[in-house]
């Protein structure tokens, strides 16, 4: 197991190198001089070039890149924000925490609603209930999140005055962003749960359970659900990572000081160290979350344990079984 975890963590290296390389390339391709961005339009040419020298912007991109990666590896230094002169990492950590709270809440809302609706659809397949669930969940998936966000603000803040329109000064401020991100993912959870439930419900071991005289309720919740949750859990894992980085638009709409908004603001400000740092931290978080999600599958699906420990390929559906 430890070997597996280490192996997965080592994967971070190529991922981070890839992400940082991509952003470094984008940085060189985008117009606008960071030095001028920092010093403002009044700065003289001498000041600009002095600043460029100070920031190492005159070096070839590859040199800048190696220096950047070196600083991260040797000192955990993700650079300094052009805008505030604070270390990027210390700016990101509290924002990451904010984003994480919203993401967890959103995924919880989305997953719980989605799973319940998915079970309902599966048990009532091809009925009007099934169709209604499909329509509702598709609605929230197809309407852009920020539109849902603005509608939520209009209803709950402007009309009803029960939730704050923006900001997270009070815990109530978390509700709408969570709801908004959560609702948009309900559809995918519903669909995955539904198809997975239907598939599992037609499995032989469900028939075995019926042959035992087990009740339908227990069959649904004790036999089918846990098996059906494997693909759902996989998708929760992916969306956990995605939402942390993907809440950018909504964090902006709801003025949530999360890492997504931080990156968006930094992009607008040409604040490359912050963009780069933000993207890398998200990549790390994403990888670690994926790892944790994979590890958590062991709890759900015992078949994976042997494959993960042995480091082999794992296919939850049809695990290759050694002769016992």
């Amino acid at each position: 197991m430890a070997k597996y975890v280490i192996k997965r963590l080592l994967l971070l290296i190529p991922i981070l190198l890839g992400v940082s390389a991509i952003i470094f390339v984008l940085k060189t391709l985008t117009p606008g001089d960071p030095a001028r961005q920092i010093l403002g339009n009044d700065a003289t040419e001498e000041q600009i070039s002095a600043k460029r020298e100070e920031l190492g912007l005159n070096d070839p991109v590859i040199v800048q890149y190696v220096r950047y990666v070196g600083n991260i590896v040797t000192r955990g230094d993700f650079g300094t924000s052009y805008r505030t002169n604070e270390p990027v990492l210390s700016e990101i950590i509290p924002r990451l925490w904010t984003s994480a709270k919203i993401t967890l809440g959103a995924v919880a809302i989305g997953a719980i609603l989605g799973i319940l609706l998915g079970i309902l659809s599966a048990l009532r397949k091809y009925t009007w209930v099934d169709s209604l669930v499909l329509v509702i969940s598709m609605f929230f998936q197809s309407v852009p999140e920020f539109v849902v966000g603005l509608v939520l603000i209009t209803v709950f803040a402007v009309k009803l005055h029960i939730l704050p329109a923006a900001g997270i000064d009070t815990p109530l401020g978390y509700i709408m962003p969570m709801l908004c991100i959560g609702l948009s993912s309900v559809a995918s959870y519903t669909r995955i749960t539904r198809s997975s439930m239907l598939e599992v419900l037609s499995e032989d071991y469900i028939r075995t359970a019926r042959a035992k005289g087990q009740t339908e309720k227990n069959i649904t919740y004790h036999h089918a659900l846990r098996n059906a949750m494997i693909p759902v859990a996989q998708s929760i894992g992916t969306s956990l990572g995605n939402s942390i980085g993907g809440g950018m638009v909504l964090e902006t709409v709801f003025s949530v000081p999360g890492v997504g908004k931080y990156i968006v603001d930094s992009i607008n400000q040409r604040n490359y160290p912050s963009v780069l740092g933000g993207a890398l931290v998200i990549a790390i978080v994403l990888t670690v979350i994926n790892l944790l999600v994979d590890l958590s599958f062991i709890l759900i699906d015992p078949r994976l344990k042997s494959t993960i420990i042995s480091g082999g390929a794992s296919k939850p559906k049809k695990a290759k079984v050694a002769e016992a």
């Binding site: 994967l11 190529p14 991922i15 890839g18 992400v19 991509i22 952003i23 984008l26 985008t30 117009p31 606008g32 001089d33 961005q37 010093l39 403002g40 339009n41 009044d42 003289t44 000041q47 805008r83 505030t84 002169n85 700016e91 509290p94 924002r95 904010t98 966000g149 603005l150 603000i153 209009t154 803040a157 402007v158 005055h161 704050p164 329109a165 923006a166 900001g167 997270i168 000064d169 993907g246 902006t252 709409v253 003025s255 000081p257 908004k261 931080y262 990156i263 968006v264 603001d265 992009i267 607008n268 400000q269 963009v275 993207a279 998200i282 990549a283 994403l286 994926n290 994979d294 794992s314």
Partner: protein, 560 residues
């Protein structure tokens, strides 16, 4: 699991790409809001200070300083939604001028003088009176009843210290570049002489800007030195004191109960600034009651709230007039040709442009300056501003462009509606206008470098700042650091502008500027468009809407 690794990598890559994508769209979409910081500083290179007078066309709007002095103080909190979070609150020691910082810092500090933005008149603030010693030196007599945050009284040394900060890290910005620290000195405890390195009587008006806030060395040191104080500005003698900055969330100010002007105490005990880059969300926060002020609304968006009964919409001109400049430098043959410039000038429908630019509330400008400016001259008659397609076509034919012509205009996203009107107007006379919109950084680069045929830039024209008409100053054109303009000038125009800036007699200055405007008209160097507007959405029971420099709202004068 291998597949998953690949997927993870791909996801990360896609994310990075989408980040970049977000970057460009995000910038353009929110230029009007978040771009304020960058474009504001861009404008300051070109232009100068402020005047603020509300149009009064808007029901429920409060004119600047129209309300009586407020002496009531409550324990209530005022929440103001800003478009973006400043990177520092005191810009001078870190060489920055950001709009949001200016707004907040104006509440913390007082300046030597303040400008009545309805008349342009310079009035006493920390200085009770002043006197020009010579064209570059002005002597100020200070109030004796002012205490700083640390409880010590204001002295002339504090002003000298403040000047040293302005001319330090901010030496190249408008904060420092006109001040001569070397000849600035304290004459006695309450008299100080400030030296300027360029003669310009209206520099006094400039001292009203919040970056010229007076602080004392002791309190700056107590706050951890100038650079630390930039983020922790427990400074000044203003109506409010800095209390807390929750990064990413809010900045909190608290009323200064020892404020020296007992007639103008803050009504609200606490002011909280929040940061919401999305303008609609900012306005909705006011509708919901979460905040009382949604600042810096795009005019077109604010106008949609005009009919709303649950909020007030404030729209006002602030002394900045939009001008369309023709690139007259080499390589721009068409716009270098006066006949072409005249043709364009005749082809444009200025009323339509003004309507679009001000959401239907403004009028076409008949002079270079704002009508409320002390230096306003009506250079054009209304008839002269009428569309003349035939005249334009004839001129183009004379210039040899009867078969058509292609021109490029550059700008930020927010000028697109205006450019689109021009595009239609010019199509009628056979000119194809290409509209090139970019983000702020690219725009600045293009505008510096002259990568355009025509460009719409605004200039603040409420006073004769030393930066007046920067587009026509040879030094600026030589250095390249001016946003827009013809990128060409004549010595005659250059020296005429210098004379007008240095002129000590205001009436004479107005005449001189009128003469320059006539020259510009004769040569068709510029086409005046319309006075630009600011807009905010505020709670319906809020009163005391007043403005400070460059039309920024004054956060300290609100009351109910």
């Amino acid at each position: 699991m291998n597949l998953k690794k690949v997927t993870a990598l791909a996801l990360v890559g896609a994310m990075a790409l989408s980040l970049a994508a977000c970057g460009s769209t995000g910038t353009t979409a929110s230029t009007a809001a978040t771009g304020a910081g960058a474009s504001g500083s861009a404008a300051s290179a070109a232009a100068a200070a402020t005047s603020s007078d509300t149009t009064g066309t808007v029901s429920g709007a409060k004119g600047a300083n129209q309300d009586a002095a407020n002496t009531t103080a409550t324990d209530e909190t005022l929440t103001i939604g800003l478009a973006s979070e400043p990177s520092a609150l005191w810009g001078a020691p870190v060489g920055k001028t950001e709009n949001e910082a200016q707004i907040i810092f104006s509440a913390l500090t007082d300046r030597l003088v303040k400008v009545d933005h309805t008349t342009g008149e310079v009035k006493p603030d920390l200085a009770t009176s002043w006197e020009w010693v010579d064209s570059k030196h002005c002597k100020f007599n200070l109030r004796t009843d002012v205490t700083m945050t640390d409880g010590t009284p204001l002295t002339a040394d504090d002003v000298v210290y403040s000047v040293s900060v302005w001319t330090g890290a901010s030496a190249n910005t408008d904060t420092g570049r006109f001040i001569d620290a070397a000849t600035t000195k304290a004459d006695d405890d309450h008299t100080v002489t400030i030296g300027f390195n360029t003669p310009a009587p209206d520099l006094l008006s400039m001292l009203d800007w919040s970056n010229f806030g007076i602080v004392s060395e002791d309190e700056v040191n107590a706050a951890g030195g100038a650079e630390a104080a930039a983020n922790n500005p427990v400074l000044g003698s203003g109506k409010y004191k800095f209390k807390e900055w929750k990064r990413g969330q809010s900045i909190t100010l608290e009323r200064n109960d020892n404020y020296w002007d007992k007639d103008w105490k803050g009504y609200y005990k606490t002011i909280v600034f929040t940061f919401t880059s999305d303008a609609a969300a900012r306005a909705m926060a006011v509708q919901s009651g979460d905040s009382q002020v949604a600042y810096d609304m795009p005019v077109s968006q604010a106008s949609t709230y005009l009919a709303s009964t649950d909020v007030q919409t404030v729209m006002y001109t602030f002394g900045q007039v939009g001008h369309l400049w023709y690139n007259m430098s080499d390589g721009h043959d068409a716009t270098q040709n006066q006949k072409v410039r005249e043709a364009i000038d005749k082809a444009l429908d200025y009323d339509a442009i003004a309507q679009v630019g001000t959401a239907g509330t403004g009028k076409a400008a008949l002079g270079y300056f704002d009508t409320d400016s002390k230096y306003y001259n009506q250079t054009y008659t209304e008839d002269e501003r009428k569309v003349d397609v035939e005249g334009a076509k004839a001129l183009l034919k004379e210039a040899g462009y009867e078969s058509g012509l292609e021109l490029t205009a550059i700008g930020l996203q927010d000028v697109v509606p205006v450019y689109t009107v021009m595009q239609e107007n010019l199509r009628a006379v056979g000119i194809t206008l290409n509209i090139k919109t970019t983000d702020t950084a690219q725009f600045v680069q293009d505008a510096f470098g002259g990568n355009y045929d025509i460009i719409d830039v605004g200039e603040l024209t409420d006073a004769r700042y030393p930066t007046l008409l920067p587009f026509l100053r040879s030094a600026n054109i030589a250095s390249g650091y001016v946003i827009g303009g013809p990128k060409a000038t004549t010595d005659a125009i250059d020296s005429a502008i210098e004379t007008a800036i240095e002129e000590t007699d205001e009436a004479k200055a107005k005449e001189e500027l009128g003469a320059i405007e006539q020259t510009m008209k004769e040569q068709t160097i510029v086409s005046n468009l319309y006075p630009e507007m600011h807009a905010s959405v505020i709670a319906k029971d809020l009163k005391g809407y007043t403005t400070i420099e460059r039309g920024f709202m004054d956060p300290t004068n609100f009351y109910k």
